[in-house]
């Protein structure tokens, strides 16, 4: 491809256009060695932006330029940029398959000697995710996002059921809810990824983290695993027999419909990421303040081989440092990571916003926050987790993420059987 474009460039009289581009606004900075980083829009990202602003104010000779990009477009852009050697100095990822590829292609540098005190402060279950073959290639940069079970206490009270702790409890509760015409679980199946949370938890509770580890390591036929099959069957059963709300295939998460169903009592429970806690506080303050809004961990499975302390979700977003950046730029990035990440001010502002830094040394601070009950709950969840499973669509190779979504979508609709799912995924 490169060749064609060069010919084009030559044929055009590049210089004249280059001259034009100078007045086009923006453009790459003129020569000075500013490092750069791309962050996302929305969510807790404005706090990260502020953190960079403070850094830039304090470090005149180590400036970092920031761009905020929307999530979906970020994923495409960062890959194109990394692939063409134009990546920003600090490369943000969700770790998993993408990080593995970056490391294998040697697009990012080994950070093992540049992380300062950070490793000792971050929860082990989170830190692991930034490691490739024992070396640290990425460090967490924001809040940890475990997936938890939210519930609406008033709905439970109405039908007289206790919050389920085991899968047996869940099955009994489903029956009672159905008799009373309440949907047990809200699920944004139309967006598919929330259903992945179910698949992950059920697989983990049934067979432990090893079941999926084989898939990540690319073992032949690894999807053909009894725990994955169990999870798929259970999900189809929940879909067909009134476990999920009957419209689950049409409910989407973009506009928080799944949370709304919980908030207005149409559903009793919702399995979703920790970010939904602040969504509910913002968009459904009445429900949030009613005292009915509760949260708990995913139920245990009686005969399951998985460790009940295991959790799934997004350990955090992580920074890596581009191998294509100049040494100067890399040094700025190293300094930022080792000196500035999770500094006191940023941690405070994250906690105030209701998000949880994955740090083991901030218990006291958490206790003083407004959302201390939820933050303490998640902090314990993460701190005690034996394993923190990164969301599967991030964990697998990027090429596999889309087929995984496609096939899971078909499972949700009942268009294919679990066996067909396994077969399709194995054939990739």
């Amino acid at each position: 491809m490169r060749r064609t474009t060069r010919i084009a460039a030559a044929g055009l009289g590049v210089t004249s256009l280059m001259a034009l581009s100078a007045c086009g606004g923006g453009g790459e900075g003129g020569g000075e060695a500013n490092a750069d980083a791309w962050i996302l829009t929305g969510g807790g990202w404005p706090a990260i932006q502020e953190d960079f602003d403070r850094w830039n104010e304090a470090n005149e000779d180590a400036q970092i330029d920031i761009e905020a990009i929307e999530n979906d477009s970020y994923k495409g852009q960062i890959r194109t940029a990394v692939g063409s050697g134009e990546a920003p100095t600090l490369i943000m990822s969700w770790t998993g398959g993408a990080l593995l590829e970056y490391a294998e292609e040697e697009r990012i540098v080994d950070l093992s000697d540049h992380t300062g005190e950070l490793e000792s402060r971050v929860f082990e279950s989170v830190w692991q995710n930034g490691q490739v073959d024992g070396s640290t290639y990425a460090v967490p940069l924001n809040d940890v996002q475990p997936v938890v079970m939210y519930y609406n206490q008033s709905v439970f009270d109405e039908v007289g059921v206790e919050i389920p702790e085991t899968w047996e409890d869940v099955e009994a509760a489903i029956e009672t809810f159905n008799e009373n015409d309440v949907a047990p679980f809200s699920l944004a199946g139309g967006s598919v990824w929330p259903a992945l949370m179910w698949l992950q938890y059920l697989t983990d509770r049934h067979g432990g983290e090893e079941a999926f580890q084989a898939v990540v390591e690319g073992e032949e036929g690894a999807w053909d695993n009894e725990s994955i099959l169990f999870a798929l069957e259970t999900m189809q059963d929940l879909g067909e027999n009134g476990g999920f709300i009957d419209t689950y295939n049409s409910v989407t998460a973009d506009q928080n419909e799944d949370a709304q169903l919980l908030a207005d009592g149409q559903a009793a429970m919702l399995l979703q990421g920790s970010w939904v806690y602040s969504t509910i506080n913002q968009d459904f303050p009445e429900f949030a303040e009613s005292g009915d809004f509760g949260f708990t961990s995913f139920p245990t499975l009686e005969d399951g081989a998985g460790d009940p302390s295991n959790i799934v979700g997004n350990p955090a977003n992580f920074w890596s440092v581009s191998a294509d950046a100049s040494e100067e730029e890399q040094q700025i990035a190293f300094d930022y990571i080792s000196e500035n990440l999770y500094n006191e001010e940023t941690v405070t502002s994250m906690l105030e916003a209701g998000s949880l830094p994955p740090l083991s040394d901030i218990e006291d601070q958490i206790a003083e926050t407004e959302d201390s009950d939820f933050l303490q709950f998640s902090s314990e969840l993460v701190g005690e987790a034996n394993h923190f499973q990164l969301s599967w669509d991030q964990a697998v190779a990027p090429e596999v993420a889309q087929p995984l979504t496609d096939n899971l979508s078909q499972i949700l609709r009942g268009d294919i059987t679990p066996e067909q799912f396994v077969e399709a995924m194995n054939s990739l």
Binding site: T5, L17, G25, E67, N71, S73, W275, D283
Partner: protein, 313 residues
């Protein structure tokens, strides 16, 4: 205003013979006359069925727009807690304020620059090319036309990766040029097609007589083709302006910094990884649609008149 009405009024179903035009027809191009004759709709009885259909379609059109409008005056809390199809009881300007504070006018200016310059260049180069093709008697002219026709069928998203590399090689990545240049290129085929078909219908005699008067190519282009093709240019201009104004794929891939962000991309600032600020997004949508609506309302008469001569051949 020069319209094409007279010659087209004489058009018959086999107007393919327009190449032997009735030149006299050009003597009475009178819009008013055209209008007077049109005061009665075809048939004298009111068309009940037509009226019914018209109102029905209005309902179809209006419902989503009604939703956009009422939602832009809500808070997201209000959107969630009440019936979202009914207007809120506590209207708020907060979404609009949020959008305006979020550099709306900056993005607006970017969009305006990109749209206006793209459309201006498209019209200029397309009318020139169309003139050349329509008047060309060589094989080259026809080949060129065929190649340009090929362009109509290129799905933009298919070529985006090579375009991205090209733009980067040219050092234009993340500039407004990165948006203007490719969008011009992809707008050319359709524009040329429409204008060519129009220029072809300009009576040969008019060209001949200008030549006899010693007019050069440029003179013919500016004094004859441009005014005569005005309706076609209008059609093309509106269509391409809307495409560019609302397009998001090129901006998405070819720009990155907020300095050069255009409106459709700025909408995405109101969505995060797990959710969307619906009222703010729709407020931004309303704000970016308003200027277009104003332009349309002001220019509607001209647009329809312009299009009138443009397509009826």
């Amino acid at each position: 205003m020069m319209t094409h009405t007279a010659s087209t009024q004489s058009a018959t179903p086999d107007a393919g013979k327009a190449l032997t035009p009735e030149v006299p027809g050009f003597e009475h191009r009178d819009v008013k006359q055209n209008k007077v004759r049109r005061t009665g709709a075809p048939g004298e009885k009111p068309n009940l069925l037509g009226g019914l259909g018209g109102w029905l379609w209005l309902a179809v059109i209006i419902l989503p727009i009604y939703y956009i409008l009422i939602t832009s005056f809500r808070t997201s809390e209000d959107l969630r807690s009440s019936n979202q199809l009914l207007p809120t009881t506590n209207p708020t300007l907060a979404p609009f304020i949020k959008v305006i504070q979020n550099d709306f006018f900056h993005y607006f200016t970017n969009s305006l620059i990109v749209t206006l310059s793209t459309v201006a260049v498209v019209l200029a180069v397309s009318v020139m090319a169309a003139y050349y093709i329509a008047r060309s008697t060589t094989l080259g002219g026809r080949r060129l036309f065929q190649v340009i026709l090929l362009g109509i069928a290129i799905p933009v998203q298919a070529t985006i990766i090579p375009v991205y590399y090209l733009i980067q090689q040219l050092g234009l990545y993340d500039t407004l040029w990165a948006l203007i240049l490719p969008q011009i290129a992809f707008a050319i085929p359709l524009s040329v097609l429409i204008i060519v078909n129009f220029v072809r219908d300009i009576p040969m005699e008019l060209f001949e007589s200008m030549k006899v008067d010693g007019a050069g190519e440029w003179k013919i282009l500016t004094a004859l083709v441009l005014p005569m093709a005005k309706p076609a240019l209008m059609t093309v201009g509106i269509y391409q302006a809307l495409q560019v104004w609302n397009g998001f794929l090129f901006p998405l891939v070819l720009t990155q910094s907020s300095d050069v962000r255009v409106l459709p991309l700025s909408l995405w600032e109101y969505s995060g990884q797990f959710g969307i600020d619906v009222p703010a997004t729709l407020a931004a949508v309303v704000l970016s649609a308003l200027p277009l609506l104003v332009v349309y309302m002001l220019a509607r008469r001209h647009i329809v008149a312009g299009l009138t001569a443009g397509f009826g051949k």
